[in-house]
């Protein structure tokens, strides 16, 4: 038996570690560094119906123990993703979670329907929470009713289980969580980025060309852990936790808080081998903590 194995709707994970969407492209770049088959899964970059160029640069800025980004969902568009990016990934033995984004319900539905048929796509991640695109996006993630309806619409067409990615920029994240659960979501992923800014003291202007950006990295970890804890207690579908994970104790803690698996975003830029390193470090740390199977950790803080 594989001690690190986790079973989730649509996903049999060799281990609970996967790169987070937007921090790993479609895998090609990191494939130069290590074997992608090692990963529990891969959350690929957000895909929209049409290709998007994204926002003007600068698109990123460093902050204390974190970073801001306003990439603006740059991606090659559905057609190219399903005909080039995803087939290329088939050479690896790793389930793909396709991150689906759009401006209108129709966009989400169209992308979801087609992309969910790709043979290696085992689950969708509905991105209703990207703070860096102006139309749609953010409101889907902050209004429980709209979020629930979008989930229902996407569920109706998807060939694979649907996970909904929640925004932390809300008063009550459990309210949205319950709404998308009621809408038929098979799982939840959280957190997306917190909206933040950085200024240039010389000019007095924002550093990010877009003005605001999404805050990620270790700085947001306490907020992410709190939301994973709250949400996992208030729904009965599984949660994939993320937000600032960079070491093996972070993985343990997110799972203790209630996550069934975790995603690693920003840390891939700091230690490009962080995902395989975490996978290698887990068994030893579990031994130290007296944990036989990783699943024992899930939500143990609630018990």
């Amino acid at each position: 038996m594989n001690r690190l194995q986790v079973e989730l709707p649509g996903l049999t994970l060799k281990n609970p570690i996967m790169p987070a969407s937007g921090c790993f492209g479609f895998g090609k770049e990191y494939a130069q560094l290590y074997d992608l088959s090692k990963l529990g899964a891969i959350m690929v970059k957000a895909t929209t119906l049409e290709p998007r160029f994204g926002n003007p640069t600068p698109r990123v800025a460093e902050t204390p123990a974190g970073m801001l980004n306003a990439i603006g969902l740059q991606n090659p568009g559905l057609e190219k993703v399903v005909t080039e990016e995803l087939p290329w990934l088939e050479q690896y033995d790793v389930p793909i979670i396709a991150n689906v984004a759009g401006s209108e319900t129709e966009d989400y539905v169209a992308v979801a329907e087609r992309i969910s048929k790709a043979p290696n796509v085992r689950a969708l991640e509905l991105n209703i929470s990207c703070p860096n695109v102006r139309c749609g996006g953010i409101t889907f993630g902050t209004d429980p009713k709209i979020a629930g309806e979008l989930t229902r619409a996407v569920k109706a067409v998807s060939s694979v289980p649907v996970y909904v990615k929640l925004s932390p920029n809300v008063t009550d994240v459990t309210e949205i969580a319950r709404a998308v659960e009621a809408g038929g979501a098979d799982g939840l992923t959280l957190i997306n980025t917190l909206v933040g800014m950085r200024f240039d003291p010389r000019t007095g202007r924002p550093v990010i060309a877009n003005g605001t950006g999404g805050l990620s990295g270790p700085a947001v970890k306490p907020v992410a852990l709190r939301m994973v804890y709250e949400v996992s207690r208030s729904v009965s579908i599984p949660v994939i936790g993320m937000g600032g994970i960079s070491d093996v104790d972070d993985v343990i803690n997110f799972m203790s808080a209630g996550a069934s698996a975790v995603a690693v975003g920003t840390a891939n830029f700091v230690d490009h081998f962080v995902c395989p390193n975490l996978i290698d470090a887990l068994p030893d740390r579990m031994d130290e903590l007296g944990i036989r199977n990783i699943t024992e950790l899930i939500g143990r803080s609630h018990r």
Binding site: G25, Q32, L33, T57, P218, F269, V270
Partner: protein, 255 residues
């Protein structure tokens, strides 16, 4: 192959005001086949500063690389003061460098650098010279106290220094000096701030040229789309500075 290595610090010294020359030893050095590539350096080992800093490889060979960087911002100051305790966490080599072969042996090549854009031109100049090309250097700085590697460049070929305040060399910009050069160049190479690249490319219109760009980076390897530049010359409409560049043929990136 891209490596992530804790390279040994073989030496660090301040070669001009806030400008440091850092020599690192390790296997990564043997992976470099071309001048103008860069490395992504971690500043410190705690979670702040968080992101790596992109620094050009100024020179390489014999299992060593030389980086020349300005310690001005937060991370580079940490690197210079204390981030490097005998070793540095380096990812690289990254990106595509300057094509040495673009200059035919026996011809003259123009190398134009500004400020911290000067370092990669040093490795380039050495390789050009080895290839039988005659490098001519035009190097611009803010003022005398931040001029570096003048001697080193002189040893490789004709070298002109310009400073904005005239405290060393010609007063003014690199383009002022370029206008006064009487040579025929088969190719030009340039690295420096965007307005300088633009002026250089305009001044050299008609000659084949290669420009090295800077953009804020996240991953440094092409995965995060932080560092894109618009371009009209490929079907995607953009290039990534980190993985498609930092060096592009003049005309590729919309200036």
């Amino acid at each position: 192959m891209i490596r992530n290595e804790h390279m040994k610090v073989a030496g660090q010294r301040e070669i001009a005001r806030n400008i440091y020359e850092l020599v690192l030893e390790g296997e990564l050095a043997d992976e470099i086949k071309e001048p103008g590539k860069f490395v992504h350096v971690r500043a410190g080992e705690t979670l702040d500063p968080l992101l790596r800093r992109p620094i050009s490889i100024a020179d390489y060979g014999n299992g060593r690389i030389t980086l020349i960087y300005r310690a001005e911002g937060y991370g580079t100051r940490v690197i210079s003061e204390k981030g490097l305790h005998g070793q540095a966490d380096v990812l690289g080599p990254l990106g595509n460098g300057f094509p040495v072969e673009a200059a035919a042996p026996g011809t003259k090549a123009l190398l134009v650098g500004g400020g911290i854009g000067v370092p990669p031109l040093y490795g380039l100049s050495r390789r050009l010279k080895e290839a039988g090309v005659e490098p001519v250097h035009v190097l611009g700085f803010q003022s005398e106290d931040v001029v570096f590697y003048e001697e080193e460049f002189i040893r490789l070929g004709e070298t002109h220094i310009a400073t904005v305040d005239g405290s060393r060399g010609a007063k003014g910009f690199v383009t002022d000096v370029m206008a006064s050069l009487g040579h025929e160049f088969s190719v030009y190479y340039s690295c420096g701030p965007l307005p300088m690249l633009k002026a250089v490319a305009e001044g050299m219109a008609g000659t084949e040229g290669y420009l090295s760009f800077e953009e804020r980076m996240g991953c440094g390897i092409g995965a995060c789309f932080a560092c894109v530049c618009r371009t009209d010359s490929n079907d995607r409409g953009y290039v990534k500075v980190c993985s498609d560049g930092p060096v592009f043929k003049a005309g590729v990136v919309t200036l």
